[in-house]
């Protein structure tokens, strides 16, 4: 019952038009100790498919595709690969590869970009 409520709140924040919803998802969802919640938040941010939401899951260390949990990271990558419109994702990945300070984040972005190009 409680997880259903959390699922619905994350879903509503993901579909909300207010840009502040991304901040809320980042603050509580991506910083959660619970893998399940981090995974669902990453999905909601990716489905939003805006440059701001995608930056959280692509360019932030320890979040989204850079999550320390392999399950969360792989699930986020899978969600990215499942997007119909990948133009924004490719832009954010390119941006991350060129500007990120952390080499790990850059490498992950490069790998995901390669995956997208091969899957297209």
């Amino acid at each position: 019952m409680k997880t259903n409520r959390i699922d619905n709140i994350i879903e509503a924040l993901g579909r909300h038009e207010d840009p502040k919803s991304i901040e809320v998802l980042e603050e509580i969802g991506t910083n959660s100790e619970i893998d399940e919640i981090r995974e669902k938040t990453a999905h909601a941010l990716i489905r939003k498919n805006t440059p701001e939401s995608l930056r959280v899951v692509i360019a932030s260390a320890g979040k989204g595709i850079n999550d320390l949990s392999a399950r969360v990271a792989m699930s986020a990558i899978n969600e990215i690969l499942g997007l119909n419109d990948k133009t924004e994702v490719l832009k954010v990945l390119e941006e991350t590869m060129n500007s990120s300070e952390k080499s790990e984040v850059k490498d992950t972005a490069r790998s995901v970009k390669a995956l997208i190009t091969y899957s297209m």
């Binding site: 997880t3 959390i6 619905n8 709140i9 509503a12 924040l13 207010d18 509580i28 100790e33 619970i34």
Partner: protein
């Protein structure tokens, strides 16, 4: 001239015989089978007497033929009997199937007669309205400002974390 009454005549030859009776009725000690049927005719008739009579009997070849026809006839009768048994067993299985269906129908009818159907409109209406008025449904949450969702998310997240610890 003897008069024969129908009531006096012995019709035992038309009576169906069981397998054991058939075996007892003839003098075949080995229970010879012909196509799976025990031969009812006495095929072990003394041959010497026949041979003796053959010398004088001009219709010897005909008697051989009648022996063969006896065998064939007994085989046909035996096969008819086995066919009857098979038919009877199939008929019994069909009858038992029909009985089972009848029993099932009767029992379900009894069950239906003893079942009361009631509709609680109040609880139904409550459950429907609770579905539509659920404040945690995505559609209702979408109507709320992000600040409210922020607070709700924080509360629910903390509660869930606590429930996992317990």
């Amino acid at each position: 001239m003897d008069k024969m009454k129908i009531s006096q005549s012995n019709f035992s030859i038309f009576k169906p015989m069981s397998k054991t009776e058939r075996q007892e009725a003839h003098s075949n000690p080995f229970g010879i089978n012909f196509k799976g049927n025990i031969l009812a005719s006495d095929v072990f008739e003394p041959t010497k007497t026949q041979e003796a009579s053959n010398s004088t009997n001009p219709f010897a070849t005909f008697s051989k033929l009648t022996n063969k026809s006896k065998m064939a006839a007994s085989a046909i009768v035996g096969s008819m009997n086995s066919f009857n048994e098979a038919f009877r067993s199939r008929l019994n299985s069909v009858i038992s199937f029909g009985r089972q269906i009848k029993d099932n129908i009767v029992s379900s009818w009894e069950k239906a007669k003893n079942t009361e159907i009631s509709l609680d409109f109040r609880s139904l209406a409550n459950s429907i309205s609770s579905k539509f008025n659920n404040q945690y449904s995505v559609n209702n949450l979408l109507k709320r400002p992000v600040d409210d969702l922020h607070a709700m998310f924080a509360i629910e997240h903390a509660a869930y974390k606590e429930s996992l610890k317990a």
